[in-house]
């Protein structure tokens, strides 16, 4: 599991094609593999002393993983999770970035919304499950709503801060070069200048949304999270771990893909 989620701001020279997974540097790769193997060995040793409902062995988890996959249960759960993860993330991210940029740029909108924002911000997405059920029902839309709320705030604050941090001097330059009007300024100067900060928000949000998938499925929407909760209730710990692994792998996949896009879009960054 790659734990490097710090983006390009970490100053690490990771411009290689597989840098997201640390494959560019053989020593790093070797250490990573050693870490995983060491962890598995430790896990196996501890599992020998415990009953399966406390800690199953890695082999048992692997067997369960294959079984769930072969029976199609896992694929179905995954497909269901993606059905609310994707729209929830896309809508929440889009609205969050849009509102963050707009409220940060426009003093009027900022004044107008500041009290509301401060009131709504501390509400955890899970506290809105009642609304999700009432407004959308126990379905993908309801779960997507919860996920969207989580994505919204992360992206709202990232975009808000990024726009706030745009250099006044660049805005002055834009004005001297003929930019007139907010729309042109935001499109031509503010957005590109704020893009590094905005993409950090999007990336953080992508991870957070996978966590919210589990939470959003508490109220009965099928998916990976639902499988984990059910398995927990039945003390099927091997199944719990198998599905956690699926989530991790999915997150890793999305994160690596996003970083590749991020690097492409931000090639100009020092």
């Amino acid at each position: 599991m790659a734990t490097d989620t710090s983006g390009r701001l970490d100053g690490r020279d990771d411009t290689g094609a597989y840098a997201g997974l640390g494959l560019a540097d053989p020593m790093r790769l070797l250490r990573g593999v050693a870490g995983v193997v060491g962890f598995l060995v430790l896990w196996y040793l501890v599992s020998l002393t415990q009953p399966a409902y406390v800690l199953p062995s890695p082999a048992a988890v692997g067997a369960r993983f294959i079984e769930e996959f072969a029976s199609g249960t896992m694929t179905a759960a995954l497909a269901s999770s993606v059905r609310h993860w994707l729209p929830g993330t896309v809508v929440g991210t889009g609205l969050g970035v849009g509102a963050g940029v707009a409220f940060s740029w426009s003093g009027f909108l900022d004044d107008l919304t500041a009290p509301l924002v401060r009131t709504l911000r501390p509400v955890p997405p899970l506290a809105l499950i009642g609304f999700a059920i009432a407004w959308f029902g126990i379905n993908d839309a309801g779960a997507a709503f919860i996920i969207a709320v989580g994505a919204f705030w992360i992206n709202f604050y990232a975009a808000y801060g990024a726009v706030e941090g745009v250099s006044e001097d660049l805005i002055d330059v834009g004005r001297t070069l003929g930019i007139r009007g907010d729309l042109d300024m935001v499109r031509s100067v503010v957005l590109p200048a704020a893009l590094p900060g905005i993409t950090i928000g999007i990336r953080t949000g992508l991870g957070r949304c996978w966590m919210l998938v589990v939470a959003a499925e508490i109220f009965g929407v099928p998916g990976v999270g639902r499988e984990i909760l059910r398995a927990s209730n039945n003390l099927l710990v091997d199944k719990v771990i198998a599905y956690i692994l699926v989530l991790s792998l999915l997150y890793l996949l999305v994160d690596v893909a996003f970083r590749a896009i991020q690097r492409r879009v931000l090639t100009w960054q020092a």
Binding site: V173, P192, W268
Partner: protein
């Protein structure tokens, strides 16, 4: 509005084609205590003239620069460019800042072309591209056209900034300590290049600096400012033939004269 096709922009005969700074004053509202940053500043720059603005720190050079650029409002008086009062930033003025302020997400070529689309939306893409080529050639950066600013040296960045400011063919090139952030050697090279650009384009240049030798190297006339409140102390003509050598006695005399004016009590 200046054309972008390289022709000198038409100015009717009764207009003053240069820059007139007319009794400009600027007061900042401090905490209860208003601060007079500029007081009754008047001078003019003739068309095609190269004028430097020097003064001690705190004399309001940067404030005056921002007022002339239309980035800040004057409390009193006005600035006229070609007879028209400056009420905001205009593409009739090419502005160059000390810290370059290139758009880091745009290539050299895109930075230079940034103002063209807005100043002359009717012009074709081919025409704009030709103008960008011309500007890149002028500052000698044609081979770096696809580079991003991050890979350029300070001197190269400032060349891009100058090309970007000149691309829209402004009447006035307004520069705020543009060579303040580069090393001495690069600075001298950029000074020579700027004089070449000035000679080949015939632009009116107003150049703010705190470096007296730089002002004497470049300017036809030097506006010397005094501080607290910022005001014009004297305007010095630089009667030294170009190219100017620092070893030339006349050069030294001008430097001494301007230094004395800056240091002298009112």
């Amino acid at each position: 509005m200046a054309g972008v096709n390289g022709e000198p922009a038409a100015v009717s005969a009764d207009d003053d084609p240069g820059v007139v700074v007319d009794r400009v004053g600027k007061t900042y509202d401090g905490d209860g205590d208003p601060v007079r940053a500029l007081d009754d500043v008047s001078f003019s720059v003739q068309e095609g003239e190269f004028v430097c603005l020097v003064g001690p720190s705190g004399c309001g050079k940067t404030t005056l620069f921002r007022v002339i650029a239309g980035l800040a409002d004057a409390t009193d008086g006005e600035v006229r460019l070609g007879g028209t009062p400056v009420t905001g930033p205009t593409t009739d003025m090419g502005v160059v800042f000390q810290e370059y302020h290139l758009f880091p997400w745009l290539t050299v070529e895109e930075n230079v072309g940034f103002g063209l689309e807005r100043s002359d939306p009717s012009g074709g893409a081919a025409e704009r591209a030709a103008r960008v080529d011309e500007m890149l050639d002028l500052v000698g950066l044609t081979e770096f056209r696809d580079s991003y600013p991050k890979s350029l040296s300070g001197g190269m960045k400032q060349r891009v900034a100058i090309a970007r400011a000149l691309a829209v063919d402004p009447h006035l090139l307004l520069m705020d300590e543009p060579f303040g952030a580069v090393d001495a050697q690069t600075r001298e090279m950029l000074q020579r290049e700027l004089l070449d650009v000035w000679a080949s384009t015939g632009k009116t240049v107003l150049f703010v600096t705190h470096d007296v030798a730089e002002a004497v190297t470049l300017a036809d006339r030097i506006v010397v400012m005094a501080a607290e409140p910022g005001r014009v102390r004297e305007v010095v003509d630089v009667d030294v033939d170009r190219p100017r050598e620092r070893g030339d006695p006349a050069f030294g005399e001008h430097v001494a004269r301007v230094r004395e004016l800056i240091g002298a009590r009112p």
